[in-house]
C-alpha cells in the first residue's frame, strides 16, 4: 500500500509537470491489494482503471508501470493507449480499456472458459458503483448467474463517479442489493479494511471455483483522489470532506494502527519504507523518461494478426511522408 501510494504521488506530480499526459491515483483505496492477495496468481483479472494495486501485488514492476505511463519503447502496450491502461499476459491481468463496464460480461465469459478447462481458476472483475449503472453490468451478472461462471464481481463503491455522488447514481441499497436480484451470493465489506477484503475474496473464490457460480462483493470505500488528473474535485466536494475521510477512515492508517496494536510495527517505521519506495519510483521514473517512443511501425501492427494490403499501403505512404518531413514528425523521438 505504501509503494502504491508513493508511486501515485510521484506520477500525479509528473502529469502536473507535463511529463506524462494523464494519470489516475488510488488514494484511499489501497486496500484493494487485499483482494489480489486472496487470489491464485493465475486467476484472470478484468479491471476498470483504479486497480494498479492489484497489478502491483501480482508483480508488475515499477519500471513496467512507468514505461506504460511514458508510452516508451518498453511499454508492453506499445504506446497505443493512454497512461494507466496497463495489461500483462504473464500476470494474467487483462489490458484496461476506457469504456466502462465492458469487462463485466467479458469476465463472465473468461470464467466460463476456465470452468470448461477444469483448471479450478476463477476470474475477478473490478468496477465502480458508477459503472454498475451500465447495461453491461446487468448483462454480465445475469449471464454469469444463469450459465454458471466462476467469477468474482468486485464493486469498488467509492462514493463518486467523477462528480456524481452515489445518491445520484442509484436509489436502491447500493450494488449489493442487485446481486440478490440475479440470484448471486453477495457480501458487502468494509473496503478500507484490508483483512475484511482479503477474507471476503478468499471465501468468494472458494464458492466460485467449487460451485462454478458467481459471487458479488461490494467494497465500501471512499475516493480520496480526484477522479483523474483531468479532474479537480474541489469543484463538487469540499476539501474538508476529503480531509475528514482521510483522517477517519484510511486503509493505510488503519493497517498501521492495527500492526502497532499487535506490536508488529513501530511508529515511524513506515517512514523508511516510504523513503525507499519514493527513491525506487524516482529511479524507475528517470529511466522510463529517458527511453525513446516505440518504433513507428508499431502503429500498423496488431490491428490484425497480419498486415492487410490496405495497411501495407498506408504504411508506405507514412514512411514516405516522414522521410520527406523528419523534423515536422519529430522522428528522432521514436525507436527504430
Amino acid at each position: 500500500m505504501l509503494i502504491l501510494n508513493a508511486m501515485d504521488q510521484i506520477l500525479y506530480e509528473a502529469q502536473r509537470q507535463g511529463r506524462i499526459s494523464f494519470y489516475m491515483t488510488s488514494f484511499g483505496e489501497e486496500a484493494i491489494i487485499g483482494s489480489a492477495a486472496a487470489l491464485d496468481p493465475k486467476d484472470q483479472v478484468f479491471g476498470q482503471y483504479r486497480e494498479a494495486g492489484v497489478l502491483l501485488q501480482r508483480g508488475f514492476t515499477l519500471e513496467q508501470f512507468m514505461n506504460q505511463c511514458y508510452s516508451n519503447e518498453k511499454d508492453l502496450g506499445k504506446g497505443r493507449q493512454m497512461p494507466i491502461h496497463y495489461g500483462s499476459k504473464e500476470l494474467h491481468f487483462q489490458t484496461i480499456s476506457s469504456p466502462l463496464a465492458t469487462q463485466i460480461p467479458q469476465a463472465a465469459g473468461a470464467a466460463y472458459a476456465m470452468r470448461r478447462e477444469g483448471s479450478k481458476q476463477c476470474a475477478i472483475c473490478y468496477f465502480g458503483e458508477g459503472a454498475a449503472s451500465e447495461g453491461d453490468f446487468h448483462a454480465g451478472l445475469n449471464m454469469a448467474a444463469t450459465i454458471g461462471c466462476p467469477v468474482i464481481f468486485y464493486c469498488r463503491n467509492n462514493g463518486y463517479a467523477i462528480s456524481t455522488p452515489s445518491i445520484e447514481q442509484y436509489r436502491g441499497d447500493g450494488i449489493a442489493s442487485r446481486g440478490i436480484g440475479y440470484g448471486i451470493d453477495t457480501i458487502r465489506v468494509d473496503g478500507n479494511d484490508i483483512w475484511a477484503i482479503y477474507s471476503a475474496t478468499k471465501a468468494a473464490r472458494q464458492i466460485a471455483v467449487e460451485q462454478n457460480k458467481p459471487v458479488l462483493i461490494e467494497a465500501m470505500t471512499y475516493r480520496v483522489s480526484h477522479h483523474s488528473t483531468s479532474d479537480d474535485s474541489s469543484a463538487y466536494r469540499s476539501t474538508k470532506e476529503v480531509e475528514d475521510w482521510s483522517k477517519r477512515d484510511n486503509p493505510i492508517s488503519r493497517m498501521r494502527a492495527w500492526l502497532i496494536g499487535k506490536d508488529w510495527w513501530t511508529k515511524g517505521e513506515d517512514a523508511e519504507i516510504t523513503k525507499a519506495a519514493k527513491a525506487d519510483v524516482l529511479r524507475a521514473f528517470a529511466a522510463a523518461e529517458a527511453l525513446k517512443r516505440p518504433a513507428i511501425r508499431h502503429m500498423f501492427e496488431d490491428v490484425y494478426d497480419q498486415l492487410p494490403p490496405e495497411l501495407e499501403r498506408e504504411k508506405a505512404e507514412i514512411e514516405a511522408l516522414i522521410k520527406k518531413y523528419p523534423d515536422y514528425y519529430q522522428v528522432n523521438e521514436f525507436g527504430r
Binding site: 487483462q94 469504456p99 472458459a113
Partner: protein
C-alpha cells in the same frame, strides 16, 4: 354422454367460416412473396431468382469442377444436397468436432435455433458446449469476447442482424481493438459472431437489415457475407478459424431457398478474396450475398437485350478487408463498374468500393460508377419491391453504365 368440444375449437370453426364468406383478397398476387410474375416486361421469359440460378452448384459434376474446392482437396469426396442453413450447421459441427474449446451460444440455439442452424448440435456435443443465453446481445458479445480472450473458440449467434446494435460497443470498442490496445499481449481471434441478415420478403424494418457498412468502418474486424451453401460452409469455417474477430452475416432468405451439392468433408474458402463468378468484357458488376441472384438476372437481361455485350460478375464475399485488387483488375479490363447491395445507398459499402476503384482506375473508367442500393428509407414492409436493388433496377443501372 355429450362429447364436449373445447370452446376454442368451436370459436375457431366459427371464425373460419366467417373468413370463408369474405370476398377474395384485392391483390391476386401473394403480397409478401419474394417472387415476381415473369410474364411482364422487362423480365418476360426469364427464370428469375435463386431457384433458377446457374451460380449454384446443384449437381455433383458442377461441384467437382469448382477450382477452390479442388484446391482444398474435397471436390472428389462425398457431397450431400444441403441448403444454406444445413451447410452452416455442418460447418459448426466440424468446428465442434475438431476444436475442444469451441462452443456455440446465443438466444434459442439449444433447441436448434429460430432458423434451425444449430439443430442437433446440443444432442451431439452436449449443453455445456451448445447453450442458450439470456436475452442480451451486449452480454452475448461481451461473453464471447471473454472466452476468446482466454484462447477459446466462441461462436456467438445474434438472432437477427437487426439486433446487433446493443453489441456495437463490445464489437467496435472491445473486440476490434483487443489485440492492438494490449500490444498483442491478448487477442480475441477465436471470436466469431453469426447473424441472419437481409431482406426476406416480409421482414420490415427489424428483420431485414444489412448492417455490414457499420462494421466495415472498423479496423480490426473482419466481415463476411456468403451467397450459397458451399460458400457459407467454407467461409464460416475460415471465419471461425481466422485469428481475428469476424462477423458472419447470413442472408436469411437463402437458408432454405439455396441448395447445392456441398462437400461433407472439412474445407475452408479464402477470406478477403473476391470470386469472379461469370467472366465478361464490357462491364464489371459487383455484389454479395442474396444480391448475387438479382445481379445474375440483370446480367442475363443485359446480354439478351444488348447482344455481344458480356458482363463480368464478381461476388465480393469478404466485405472487410475486401479484395480491391480483383475488382480493380476487372475494371481495368472492362472500364465500367456497377456495385449493388441491399443496404441503403448513402454511406453504404458501395460508396467505399466506388471511391477506391475511382482512385485506382480513374483514367480507365468509361462511365461513372453506378451504385444500385436500397433506398435511403428504413427497410419498408409493403413497399419492399420498390426499396430493393432488384433485377430490374440493377439492369437499368448496368444499361446506364454501358450507354454513357
Amino acid at each position: 354422454m355429450l362429447l364436449r368440444l373445447p370452446r376454442t375449437m368451436l370459436l375457431g370453426s366459427r371464425l373460419y367460416s366467417s373468413i370463408a364468406r369474405l370476398a377474395p383478397p384485392r391483390q391476386q398476387s401473394r403480397s409478401y412473396s419474394a417472387s415476381v410474375d415473369s410474364s411482364v416486361e422487362p423480365i418476360r421469359g426469364l427464370d428469375l431468382g435463386v431457384a433458377h440460378s446457374k451460380l449454384l452448384l446443384r449437381t455433383v459434376a458442377s461441384m467437382r469442377n469448382n477450382a477452390e474446392l479442388q484446391a482444398q482437396g474435397v471436390s472428389e469426396g462425398d457431397s450431400k444436397k444441403m441448403n444454406m442453413c444445413q451447410a452452416i450447421n455442418d460447418a459448426m459441427r466440424h468446428t465442434l468436432a475438431t476444436d475442444d474449446t469451441a462452443v456455440v451460444f446465443g438466444e434459442d440455439v439449444a433447441f436448434g435455433g429460430v432458423f434451425r442452424c444449430s439443430v442437433g448440435l446440443a444432442e451431439e456435443f452436449g449443453n455445456e458446449r451448445i447453450f442458450n443465453t439470456p436475452l442480451t446481445e451486449q452480454g452475448i458479445a461481451g461473453f464471447a469476447i471473454g472466452m476468446a480472450a482466454m484462447g477459446h473458440t466462441a461462436v456467438a449467434e445474434i438472432q437477427f442482424a437487426d439486433y446487433i446494435f446493443p453489441a456495437f460497443d463490445q464489437i467496435v470498442n472491445e473486440a476490434a481493438k483487443y489485440r492492438y490496445r494490449s500490444g498483442n499481449e491478448f487477442n480475441v481471434g477465436g471470436l466469431t459472431i453469426r447473424a441472419p441478415c437481409a431482406a426476406v420478403g416480409h421482414g420490415g424494418h427489424y428483420h431485414s437489415q444489412s448492417p455490414e457498412a457499420f462494421f466495415a468502418h472498423v479496423p480490426g474486424l473482419k466481415v463476411v457475407v456468403p451467397r450459397s451453401p458451399i460458400q457459407a460452409k467454407g467461409l464460416l469455417l475460415a471465419a471461425i478459424r481466422d485469428p481475428n474477430p469476424t462477423l458472419f452475416f447470413e442472408p436469411k432468405i437463402l437458408y432454405r431457398s439455396a441448395a447445392e451439392q456441398v462437400p461433407t468433408d472439412d474445407y475452408v474458402l479464402p477470406l478477403s478474396k473476391a470470386e469472379v463468378v461469370r467472366t465478361g468484357k464490357d462491364v464489371t458488376v459487383v455484389g454479395y450475398g442474396a444480391q448475387m441472384y438479382a445481379l445474375e438476372n440483370a446480367v442475363q437481361m443485359i446480354e439478351r437485350d444488348m447482344p455481344g455485350v458480356t458482363c463480368e460478375l464478381i461476388d465480393l464475399r469478404t466485405i472487410l478487408p475486401y479484395d480491391a485488387d480483383t475488382v480493380a483488375e476487372s475494371v481495368n479490363k472492362t472500364g465500367r463498374l456497377v456495385v449493388a447491395h441491399e443496404a441503403p445507398r448513402t454511406q453504404g459499402f458501395a460508396a467505399e468500393l466506388a471511391a477506391e476503384i475511382q482512385e485506382r482506375c480513374f483514367l480507365r473508367l468509361e462511365s461513372p460508377i453506378e451504385r444500385v442500393c436500397g433506398l435511403f428509407v428504413p427497410h419498408p414492409l409493403v413497399f419492399e419491391r420498390f426499396y430493393m436493388p432488384c433485377a430490374v433496377r440493377s439492369y437499368e443501372a448496368i444499361r446506364r453504365s454501358l450507354s454513357y
